[in-house]
Symmetry: C2
Subunit: 285 residues, 2 copies
Amino acid sequence: MSAAPASPMPGFNARLAARWRDADTLLCVGIDPEPGRYPAPLVDDPDRAFAFGKAIVDATAEYACAFKPQIAHFAAQGAEDALERLIAHVHAKHPGIAVILDAKRGDIGSTAQQYAREAFERFRADAVTANPYLGSDSLAPYLAHADKGVVVLCRTSNPGAADLQDLPVAGSDGTTRPLYQRVAEKAARDWNDNGNLSLVVGATWPEQLGEVRAIVGGDIPLLVPGIGAQGGDVQAVLQHGLNADRTGLIISSSRAILYASSGADFAEAAARAARETRDRINRHR
Amino acid sequence: MSAAPASPMPGFNARLAARWRDADTLLCVGIDPEPGRYPAPLVDDPDRAFAFGKAIVDATAEYACAFKPQIAHFAAQGAEDALERLIAHVHAKHPGIAVILDAKRGDIGSTAQQYAREAFERFRADAVTANPYLGSDSLAPYLAHADKGVVVLCRTSNPGAADLQDLPVAGSDGTTRPLYQRVAEKAARDWNDNGNLSLVVGATWPEQLGEVRAIVGGDIPLLVPGIGAQGGDVQAVLQHGLNADRTGLIISSSRAILYASSGADFAEAAARAARETRDRINRHR
């Protein structure tokens, strides 16, 4: 009898669903190392971007369904190499936890191919965030990687989100809906042939989160930043964003976990903050 | 008599206007080094991203009002260091020519600050391209650098641009206008306090270019990609996009110049293509 063929690596959405189930957590830990906020023991470490990220990852992995490093925080410091090693560390030590590279790229197709190489080949991320302003051909090079996740901005968590995303768009059916809902419609209907698309909807707008969930159905994961330092309400997020399985959300916190302490106990404090956030989420599920 | 105080470095728009006038060119040379398209003499050069960029810069500087390196083409190859040295080379050898870092970043304010550091401090670019989907606070950290240019996407050159940018947005005055025109309105009216904003409008849409010029007036430069490999019509671009001074345009060509020859004569071929493009533009001005 010949051996069965090796099964392909499960895709991002399947790995995420397995982690939601097996670790009972919807918490995503964002890794945004700000130059002026390293904890005291790492301030003089020449490899502090990696050392900080690794300590946070190892301390919080138990409570995390995903990690989300934010690339600008590495690039501003010329620390791409630290980011490469950090993601390799997650794959090696915490293989059940997917890495979402928060890059929010958006460019014409030939350039988007280079950005897809950056995210998936160079940094070996499992998913990448992307900006929809340039339309379908700017997203296609990411979406073509069926085993990778593509997390498209829909309604972002920041105050200025309303400037464009809430503009009233007239539809061919005579209805008028905000732009972010048109993005959700296109994402679910036109862009998700490989079933590997997710959407970003900020925790600071729980009602809009509910509108997006209603538009896209239960199978598209929603990445929800803004419950920590930005002040989003966890209970409202869950009420409006959960699917019928009581999952479907990647609830991201960065600064409230990373900077829970600036002292020698920063990793323990991060672990405590992550555990408490996971538990707070689960109490309201 | 004491010496007069050193005058501050003129801003991006002033330097651009000086170069339009002094060198009589509206051509911007885009530098997008694709991994599979290096000319034969550089294929085996370990520093080929820099060597190629430097050869193109030196060969085409005479005909260029700006250089526009596209960051993904460096990042996908792990060649950020080459990009840093390339931009330093432009500043050292061609100080009248501004460098626009084509990065199309867009993120919440705290992260946009890191992207601004990446563009202006790490890479020392004179201007950066940015995506407006996240609204005013995502652009503010770039725009706060009054001496730097911020080139905001408006109507991009790619086929998918229509997906979002042409959606009909209802205005409070009862009119309905495409999203890209709302972006142009906000840019000119709300976002340009420091007079350092420009807009991207693809050469592939000359009528939309005319609409944008009419909305923003003559003082906001328009960066126009798409006249080379993407097939935009130079005469139509000039007819619709020039301001009353017969300037106001940064007309960008990348692949048609970079890859004019794949042989040992690639730099001479690039110079010839750049000169011909500049002349073609000037014939229609």
